[in-house]
């Protein structure tokens, strides 16, 4: 997900300009010299200027490259990524959170949470022998802590908890 500085900088210029314009068109407070428009105007301008500086490489020389920890003897190196789509795996956690938003009320907390845990666990390399019991037990444990002890209203859906 490493993008060139020119791309991220340009994005910030556009975002800053949009924020400044968004602030500019806000209605002023009658009888007051300043209103809700001033702060977004200042921030938007600042953000756009930062974006421009990044595009032109100002401050780049301060960046420290991340140090890679060398591997010890006998430790196997991780296999290199297999395909171009490998990077998309990173989007799985936010996708699962959105799945929770849409499914929790219909399926209930236990079933939705079990699916989330199973998918995350297998995506991180767990075998089904580990992922399945984890998916079966951890939603009940979390429900006990949040739902029962802390009284967070978690949806029952298709499978209510025994407590």
């Amino acid at each position: 997900m490493r993008l060139p500085d020119s791309v991220t900088g340009s994005f910030l210029v556009v975002l800053g300009a949009a924020a400044a314009y968004g602030g500019y068109i806000l209605p002023p407070v009658p009888g007051q010299p300043v209103g809700p428009n001033v702060f977004p105007l200042v921030i938007g301008t600042g953000l756009a200027l930062c974006g421009l500086a990044i595009v032109f490489g100002i401050g780049h020389s301060f960046e420290e490259e991340e140090e890679l920890v060398p591997l010890e003897d006998g430790q196997a190196a991780a296999p290199p990524p297999q395909s171009k789509l490998y990077g998309l795996r990173a989007l799985l956690p936010p996708a699962l959170l959105l799945f929770y938003v849409f499914a929790a009320d219909r399926l209930g907390f236990i079933i939705t949470a079990a699916i989330m845990v199973y998918v995350t666990s297998t995506a991180l390399g767990a075998k089904w022998k580990l992922a399945l019991p984890l998916a079966a037990l951890s939603p009940f444990a979390i429900h006990l802590i949040f739902g029962k002890l802390l009284r967070v209203p978690l949806p029952a859906g298709l499978l209510p908890t025994p407590w």
Binding site: M1, P28, G35, G46, I58, V69, L130, S138
Partner: protein, 503 residues
């Protein structure tokens, strides 16, 4: 004062506070010791739990969990060469080298002992520094508050290990996020795009959980699993610590002082304290050549320093509502939620609560010694837990915790969105801590800015007229412009040398 102290003791000697503190300590130790899970993340995930506790018990959990997590980050650093928290990264190599030399007990024992000593030194600084500073702060007007808040934001960008321009951009992004909602001088919907869920603005806590916890799970999806811990039997953990204290008493004191100073600076936290202290220890050591080969001196100084900064980081938080670091930023959110609004008047109006906070810090640091030793002994088992069992549970806690904040699914959407934002920012060298500080402090900065502008009838001059405001302004503007000045200097200098050689 004695009466306030007795009142404070009464406040903390309830079963609720004692149990909350003990449970949070164990939780902080476990989370801090797991590689990749930071002290900030431990604290952020704890916030939904604090909703259900009394104000003092809520603060107790934050104090205990953050202090313990900062120490226990040293455990995987020493045993696996993988720092549990960024603060332990400064000396993870050194501690691991000691482990390879067969001195794991000494390295881990120094971690516990000097962290506890540093933590107590930090609390003493909080007790001594905060009341006189509160008196000064009472004379501050909105102009001073505005510059102080801006300076706090700038400190966070100065200490980032990335491009300062990117850090400043991160800060502006955070401020922009804080603009969302109807809580503004006009009370009009701002940047809400007609979405009613956005009318209340973006809560800092789901944003924090997103950038620190979800983004970490996202990174775990692409990075290889850390190596398993080799089987090892530990001897006595505390043996030899008193000898070290006598031998390196000056290094310990210096670490404490540096930690306190860095903690008090808004925006610079335990990570910075550990890095600076380790570097200082090496610079002034009589045995420089031993550094990197498994030498305990740097561990003493940096270990004392990072825990000292945790307590002293509460000084700007309690006085001005300006967080010393990201953990203090979360603590401020909890303080507001529990009616202990930060500000200089807190020291006069809620003095017993203040003393209760001091006492809790002292207890947490004393508790750290037995619990820390126990944790080191069971670390072998906890570190055996594969990432594929820890990360799914963290994910589930993110979803439920962010829902619990407002009993509203929008919190979960916020967490997911900020997970992606945090991941993309980190991957491209934009420090997320600067953005988080922007989100937390945005409303305060805007209020101070707009109120000052209304007072001055739209004129900029009064921002520089009061002497303290002028000094703070010069510092903040200097911090804002220095990357550009350095860039210009670097461009001009080669041109001058080229002109001189051609002449």
């Amino acid at each position: 004062m004695l009466k306030t102290l007795i009142d404070a003791l009464a406040l903390i000697s309830t079963w609720e506070v004692i149990i909350a503190m003990f449970a949070a300590s164990v939780y902080g130790l476990v989370i801090g010791s797991l590689p990749g899970l930071s002290a900030t993340m431990a604290t952020a995930l704890l916030v939904p739990v604090t909703f259900y506790l009394s104000p003092i018990a809520a603060i107790a959990t934050i104090v205990a969990a953050s202090s313990m997590a900062i120490f226990s980050g040293d455990i995987p650093g020493a045993l696996l060469r993988i720092p549990g928290t960024p603060a332990s990264a400064a000396y993870a190599d050194e501690a691991y080298a000691m482990t390879r030399k067969g001195q794991a007990e000494l390295a881990l024992g120094a971690g516990v002992w000097f962290s506890a000593v540093g933590g107590i030194a930090g609390v003493l600084s909080l007790m001594i520094l905060a009341p006189p500073l509160a008196e000064i702060a009472l004379s501050f007007s909105t102009f001073e508050y505005f510059w102080l808040a801006l300076l706090g934001l700038m400190c966070a960008t100065l200490v980032a290990r990335s491009s300062p321009v990117k850090a400043i951009a991160g800060m502006f992004l955070g401020l922009l996020v804080s603009c969302i909602g109807i809580e503004n001088p006009g009370g009009v919907p701002r940047f809400t795009f007609g979405i009613t869920d956005l009318f209340g603005g973006i809560e800092p806590i789901p944003a924090l959980v997103g950038v620190f916890a979800v983004a970490q799970v996202m990174r775990a999806m692409l990075t290889p699993e850390p190596p398993p811990l080799p089987r090892r039997k530990f001897g006595s953990i505390m043996a030899g610590q008193w000898k070290l204290t006598k031998k390196y008493h000056w290094q310990m004191t210096r670490g404490n002082i540096v930690g306190i100073i860095i903690g008090v600076l808004p925006g610079a936290g335990a990570d910075m304290a550990a890095w600076v202290s380790y570097a200082m220890s090496k610079r002034f050591s009589k045995e420089k050549e031993k550094f990197g080969t498994g030498h305990v001196e740097g561990l003493v100084e940096a270990g004392a320093s990072n825990n000292a900064s945790i307590a002293s980081g509460w000084v700007p938080s309690l006085l001005f509502g300006i967080p010393g670091d990201t953990i203090a930023a979360i603590a401020i959110g909890v303080l507001y939620m529990k009616g202990l609004n930060p500000g200089p008047t807190l020291f006069t109006e809620k003095a017993s609560s203040m003393y209760a906070i001091y006492l809790m810090f002292i207890i947490a640091n004393i508790l750290m010694i037995p619990l820390g030793i126990a944790m080191i002994r069971v670390a072998a088992y906890i570190l055996l837990a594969p990432r594929s069992t820890v990360m799914p549970i963290i994910m589930l806690c993110c979803a439920v915790g962010s829902f619990a904040i407002g009993n509203n699914m929008f919190g979960v959407v916020t967490v997911a969105a900020f997970g992606v934002i945090g991941y993309v920012m980190e991957a491209n060298g934009y420090p997320v801590a600067a953005m988080v500080l922007g989100i937390v402090m945005g409303t305060m900065v805007e209020q101070a800015f707009v109120t000052s502008l209304i007072k001055s009838d739209g004129s900029i001059l009064p921002f520089f007229e009061r002497p303290v405001a002028a000094i703070l302004a010069a510092m903040a503007i200097g911090a804002l412009l220095w990357p550009v000045m350095v860039w210009v200097w670097r461009k001009v200098k080669p041109m001058q040398t080229a002109a001189a050689t051609t002449r």
